[in-house]
Subunit: 157 residues, 2 copies
Amino acid sequence: MGKNYWITDKPIQVNDCIAKVIRPKAGAIDTFIGTVREFTKGKRTLYLEYQAYAEMAEKKLAQIGDEINEKWQDTETAIVHRIGRLEISDIAVVIAVSTPHRNDAFEASRYAIERIKEIVPIWKKEHWEDGTKWIGDQKEKTSYQEKLPTEEEMSDD
Amino acid sequence: MGKNYWITDKPIQVNDCIAKVIRPKAGAIDTFIGTVREFTKGKRTLYLEYQAYAEMAEKKLAQIGDEINEKWQDTETAIVHRIGRLEISDIAVVIAVSTPHRNDAFEASRYAIERIKEIVPIWKKEHWEDGTKWIGDQKEKTSYQEKLPTEEEMSDD
């Protein structure tokens, strides 16, 4: 089976993530898929580059799975995030959460994507027609024009 | 490409549904998957049987897609529902909704599953260890012990 939380530099197969959470006790699986969007506020993206501290990122993804288990009953979660260069419409992230009943699946999946953007050390570099920029924390409140934070700086939070 | 709303008696491939909604303008796809759960309130299900007025059901699914388009901006929806005999963990329904931003995808997908249970003429027959029952409307507020409503009766609502 392998692990439920992983970073990859290969194209993501959504089914790999879903297969990890299908089980007899579940009646609902919510799967959130983030894809590379061409236009943001009228500005055209040519492609994106994602970079991560992979080992730390996988630990943080697993932490999110643990948090979900504490907040909702009887969940199974799997999350995969891709890094490297991604073209328009490529899948950047897949979250799958299975639960006995559907309300929990929707809520937990939504929680997961917000938490990924808050705590997982993954950054994206936007490549536009007229330049590039590292988008800082995934909530996009900070931008790193020059360089990414070090792994040590990330460990502090 | 084929249609975005369909009833099938074959195993559902989740990717077939997702492929219909991936597009450059979308940054988020929420995919809801309903699977056959083994236990409901302590009672063990052996398998399910789904039956539908397929042509009417497909029209109603398309109507739900139209409703989503009216309620949220710039959506693309695909829905497939399986009929016939389904074993534990089999996929009964997949809904995929793509939108530019993720909040809309979550909300629209959730809306779709509630509406399916309200308006689409699909019924399930529970096969337990000690008997069977047709679960009536999909909200499970009515049960049909004897027979399903006729297609004409369904058309009235």
